[in-house]
Symmetry: C2
């Protein structure tokens, strides 16, 4: 039975979308070449020293001591119950007027996207996304069998004029209008750019005019290094059509995989009707005890400082090592810098050489829904690698680009 | 914005299945009547003393001490990686020949059902279920917009002759054939009955003949009180068409909400392609450290004994308090006893009176997909209430039934 060769495939019984393979990610063959010695600037992993092991252990002690009969039960105890309220309080501090009945806990922001898609999307619907946007989010959205349409991003976030033109064109040509626009307005993944206030307001006007939901993925919003916060889309909207997603993955740890969706109470009820259940109650209680002990409030300023130092270091290494003609973004928060190589260079084709020189990054193509998008672009993460690694990795990248330019 | 009355509804943008309300559960108005004083024999909650608080805290200490840089990272550390292998080992002990590549971790068994449904089912597909079956499982299955067809259960589990007759009828009449048969073969929820070996073999023959997947939900399989284990369907199948679901919810705690699906490696890969991600990596590492310390092996025999004592107590209370004409199952494991009242009595109509007398149970209707199923039946859980509560609750139930019979 465990020998696959003997067992007939069940593929003919799969759902249509499973047979189509919607939602798969083709990373490319280069992943096989990466070794433990390669400086890894690919994924947005927090740096290892950032993990609050001792504080979470302390929170676990509190939880078990105070709720010995409920911490592990279905439904959990008071701490688990409190988490939605804690999220609501923290969101109010960021300008979002909400209460706990408007908060749904999720298994991280990705699960939040999935639950929203399941609630709103039928196969064949159109979804507008930023181009580029986060690979995994795009994969989750596409797994629902929908058409994704990318709208260009520049230094001020998504180009709302291009968005309006595309909306008008589709209406004129009687094409499917979008049900959903997915955006990462703060320190966007992968570009690091932030959507300006003016554009946020225009985006909301367009959402009302063309009647679509705005899915605001604010995974990095609390990690601003400098400048003033731009108000969340959800705080600027008075039509109830913004669903705001957040996560503790970047401010506590990805391993606890807990995020949230904030929406009108009626929408939250529908999201919950999917029986996906959100994070486990033990994790919810643990995080509430952690927050109530003040650990999160203490950690966030430290994390902002640590990631700012990392960004500064990456930017100064780029300044030092990149040949003329290479450009990059300077994010005011988050984990990522987006690099544009001179036209004609192909970041994916260059990757094998980069890995040979000792550095790996993510090629721009992975962040587009079209096959040719982002060819001369790449994403660098400054969240995990050490300062020494960043220096070595960017030097290797500079050499790789210089060699290509010399070809 | 947080005032719903001002915000226009987004209901017109919902997916079709959301608008249809597929998957909702109508518990009935009686839930409002239950007070903290009511003896609660409804849900399959473990009893509070069963929770391994100290052992999980110890496992957390081990985890953080041994993997300080990875326990909370995306992907987790070696302990998290090990959990699928631990599940495979434990499943081998139960006769299932499998390796870790055939195991997918899930957010409990319910999430396992959902992931299987998403992978295999298109709206309009037919799914066969046991009648009665677990309310939440039925709701999850129905949330996929499919037709559910109930096949009667008796003391030896699902009636395979009735199953065969329905399959033959549907083929003859050119109706949609089932893609999936969902079964809880051991100590079934809600009836407590176990599917006999002979019927398991017949079910698998029918699955091959009529080409459907068997979804084996074995949530209670490790909690057998007496008699010999009947081999899991997955262990009896050589066609690869059984997907086996298990969970730590009953043997460790529901609050950690971690289960698994065991299937052919190719199917596991498809289940994983949904990006739902399974339980968080911290929980996975924690459970692996807990299992590796020997805590689970030590707990299971104790849990079997504790639940057996509870079952014995419930059965002796029923013997003592039930009027003539009332019948009930005598489960060899699990959490539930199924009670059949004399024909003509309506367990749901009787519920208000029972709550007034101080006891609450789940009416049989909740476990059927048809409106009239299970009217004279009810489910009792012996997993959570104290011995004193069980005695008091069953006495109240006996009085309620006697009063109805006297009417």
């Amino acid at each position: 039975m465990s020998d696959e060769s003997d067992a007939p495939s069940l593929a003919h019984l799969y759902a249509e979308r499973t047979r189509r393979g919607d939602g798969g990610i083709d990373y490319g063959a280069w992943r096989e070449l990466v070794t433990p010695e390669t400086v890894n600037l690919t994924y947005g992993f927090p740096f290892p020293d950032s993990f609050p092991n001792a504080e979470l252990l302390d929170a676990a002690e509190t939880l078990f001591e105070e709720e010995p009969e409920r911490a592990l039960q279905y439904g959990g105890g008071d701490y688990a119950d409190e988490l939605a309220g804690i999220v609501a309080e923290r969101s109010q501090d960021r300008g979002i007027d909400c209460h706990e009945g408007e908060v749904m806990l999720t298994n991280g922001a990705t699960n939040g996207i999935d639950v929203v898609c399941r609630t709103f999307l039928d196969p064949g619907d159109a979804v507008f996304v930023e181009a580029p946007s986060f690979t995994w989010s795009l994969a989750v959205i596409r797994s629902h069998g929908v058409e994704t349409v990318g709208i260009e991003v520049d230094d001020d976030g998504v180009d709302v004029e291009a968005l309006e033109a595309e909306l008008a064109r589709r209406r004129r040509e009687d094409l499917a209008m979008p049900k959903l626009f997915y955006t990462i307005p703060n320190f966007q993944n992968p570009t690091g750019v932030t959507l300006s206030l003016e554009r946020r307001e225009r985006l909301l006007d367009l959402a009302s005019e063309y009647d679509f939901v705005v899915l605001e993925d604010d995974a990095y919003g609390e990690l601003r290094f400098e400048g003033e916060d731009v108000p969340p889309l959800r705080s600027l909207d008075d039509t109830g059509r913004v669903i705001h997603l957040g996560t503790f993955s970047k401010t506590i740890a990805p391993g606890i995989r807990t995020g949230w969706a904030i929406a009108e109470a009626g929408v939250v009820e529908q999201l919950g009707a999917l029986h996906t259940g959100g994070p486990n109650r033990f994790t919810m209680g643990l995080l509430a005890a952690y927050c109530r002990a003040g650990y999160l409030d203490a950690a966030v300023p430290e994390l902002r400082e640590a990631y700012r130092d990392r960004r500064d270091h990456l930017l100064s290494c780029l300044e030092q090592s990149m040949p003329a003609g290479v450009e990059w973004t300077e994010p005011a928060g988050g984990f990522f810098v987006w690099v544009e190589l001179p036209a004609g260079l192909d970041a994916e084709a260059m990757l094998e050489g980069a890995i040979e020189r000792g550095v790996v990054y993510l090629p721009g193509r992975l962040f587009y829904t079209t096959e040719t998008g982002g060819q001369h672009c790449l994403r660098l993460s400054f969240s995990r690698a050490s300062f020494e690694e960043i220096e070595r990795g960017i030097a290797a990248l500079g050499e790789t680009v210089a060699a290509r330019l010399a070809d």
